[in-house]
C-alpha cells in the first residue's frame, strides 16, 4: 500500500484547547490527540491522508519570541515528519496570523514542506506573508472554519500534485502580488467601452487596475506652544551627504538617512548631493536650504518660535516609491523621531 500523505496542524492556545488568554504564553508542544479544528479536518481527509499530529503554541509566546517559536516548531515538525502543514486558520486574530505566516514560510523554506494557512484579508499576518505563503482567504471569524479547512486542504493537494493554481479569486487565496500574462478574449478597446457603458448605466463592472485606497488617519492635534517643542526637519527630496554614503536610491528609495546638523547653522552646498531622479537637482544642490531650511530653522530656534531643532534631518527619496514602501519608510521615520522626543515635523517635498 502506498504511504499516506502525512498532514500536520498548527493551532494556537485557544483552538488547541489549552485555554484563553491566560494560556497565550504556552511554548510549542506536540499533541498526538486531535484538537479543536483537527476534528473537522479529520472529516475532510481522504483515505490517502492522515493527521499525524498537532503543534499547539501560545499566540503571545509566538509574538514575543518570533524566531524562537518558529525554531521550536520546526524542531517538532522535524520529529513529526509531515508532508503537509496546515496552520490555523487564523481568521482575523493578528498574533495568530503572524505566527501562522512565519511558521509556514519557515516550514516551506527550511523543511521543504507544503505549508498553507488561512486568514482574513486585514489580518496583519496577511500583509506580512501573502507574498511568500499561500494564504486562503477567510471570513473574519471561525464561522467559516470548515470551508476554510476544505480550501486549505484542496490547495495542499494541488501543490503536492504540482498542479498549477488558478487565479486567487478562483482558488480562494489572497493575492500574492504575482503578475501572470494571459490572453484576453477581447481587445482592450472593447473591454474599456464595455466597462464604461456599464459604469454609465449604473451596472456593476470590475476595474482591471485597482487603485490604492488612502484612508487618512485622524489629524494630529495642533500644538499651541511650539516655543517649547522639539521640531525636526525631514525631506523626501533626496538630500544626502556628498557621496551618498548610505546609498539612498535615486528612485523608490528603500531606506532613509539620518544626518546630523548638530551645532551648525547652515548647510554647505559642497557637503551635500541630491539623490532624486524626479526633478532638476541643480537648485537644491546649489543651495540645500531650498529643500531643508536649516538656516531659517536656526533663526526661529534662536528667537524662541520653536523650542529646539532636532539635531538630525531625515532624508529619503519619494520618487516612484510604491505606497507600501513609503508607508514603511514613514513609519520608520516616525518611530525614530518619537524615540528622540520630537513633537512636530516639517516635511519638505519636491
Amino acid at each position: 500500500m502506498a504511504e499516506r500523505t502525512r498532514v500536520a496542524l498548527y493551532l494556537n492556545q485557544f483552538f488547541g484547547q489549552l485555554g484563553g488568554e491566560e494560556a497565550a504564553g504556552a511554548k510549542p508542544r506536540l499533541e498526538r490527540e486531535v484538537k479543536g479544528p483537527g476534528r473537522a479536518l479529520l472529516g475532510l481527509l481522504d483515505a490517502s491522508e492522515e493527521l499525524v499530529g498537532t503543534i499547539v503554541c501560545g499566540d503571545s509566546y509566538a509574538g514575543d519570541h518570533p524566531e524562537l517559536a518558529v525554531a521550536e516548531c520546526l524542531a517538532l515538525l522535524r520529529e513529526l515528519q509531515p508532508d503537509v502543514l496546515l496552520a490555523g486558520p487564523a481568521f482575523n486574530a493578528g498574533r495568530y496570523g503572524v505566527a501562522c505566516g512565519a511558521l509556514c514560510k519557515a516550514a516551506a523554506s527550511e523543511l521543504g514542506l507544503c505549508a498553507i494557512t488561512g486568514m482574513f484579508e486585514e489580518n496583519p499576518g496577511a500583509e506580512l506573508y501573502r507574498r511568500d505563503v499561500l494564504i486562503v482567504r477567510t471570513g473574519m471569524n471561525a464561522a467559516t472554519m470548515r470551508d476554510t479547512l476544505a480550501t486549505m486542504l484542496r490547495l495542499a493537494r494541488k501543490q503536492r500534485l504540482a498542479e498549477p493554481l488558478g487565479l486567487p479569486a478562483a482558488d480562494g487565496y489572497l493575492e500574492q502580488g504575482k503578475l501572470q500574462p494571459a490572453v484576453a478574449e477581447q481587445p482592450a478597446a472593447n473591454r474599456l467601452v464595455d466597462m464604461l457603458l456599464a459604469k454609465l448605466h449604473g451596472q456593476p463592472f470590475r476595474t482591471e487596475v485597482p487603485l490604492p485606497v488612502f484612508t487618512p488617519p485622524p489629524a494630529p492635534e495642533p500644538l499651541d506652544d511650539l516655543g517649547t517643542k522639539l521640531v525636526a526637519l525631514i525631506t523626501d527630496g533626496g538630500l544626502v551627504p556628498a557621496g551618498n554614503p548610505d546609498g539612498i536610491e535615486a528612485a523608490a528609495a528603500t531606506k532613509f538617512g539620518v544626518y546630523s546638523v548638530a551645532g551648525r547653522d547652515s548647510l554647505d552646498s559642497v557637503d551635500y548631493d541630491v539623490s532624486h531622479g524626479g526633478y532638476d537637482n541643480r537648485y537644491v544642490k546649489a543651495d540645500p536650504h531650498r529643500l531643508v531650511p536649516l538656516d531659517v530653522a536656526r533663526e526661529l530656534e534662536r528667537e524662541g518660535r520653536i523650542g529646539r531643532l532636532y539635531e538630525n534631518f531625515l532624508s529619503t527619496t519619494g520618487l516612484t516609491n510604491p505606497v507600501q514602501n513609503s508607508r514603511r519608510l514613514g513609519q520608520g521615520m516616525a518611530e525614530h523621531l518619537k524615540a528622540a522626543g520630537v513633537e512636530a515635523v516639517i516635511l519638505t517635498s519636491t
Binding site: Y283, V284, D287, T348
Partner: protein
C-alpha cells in the same frame, strides 16, 4: 504636488515655491529668497498650531 499630498491624506500642507526649489526662488536675490523661505517655514509653524479636520492647504 499639493494635489497628491491632499489625495494621500496629509493634514497640513503648505504650498512651496515650485518643485525644484520648494523653499527657494532661483531668480530672486539671496535676501528675497531668505525672506521667502522664512515666510514659508513660519506658515508651516502656523499650520502646526492650527486645528484641521481634513487635508488643508495653507497659503
Amino acid at each position: 504636488m499639493t494635489p497628491v499630498a491632499e489625495m494621500v491624506g496629509s493634514h497640513r500642507i503648505v504650498l512651496g515655491n515650485g518643485i525644484v526649489h520648494p523653499l527657494g526662488a532661483a531668480e530672486a536675490s539671496p535676501q528675497e529668497e531668505h525672506a521667502l523661505r522664512r515666510r514659508l517655514v513660519e506658515r508651516a509653524l502656523d499650520a502646526l498650531a492650527t486645528p484641521v479636520a481634513a487635508p488643508t492647504i495653507f497659503r
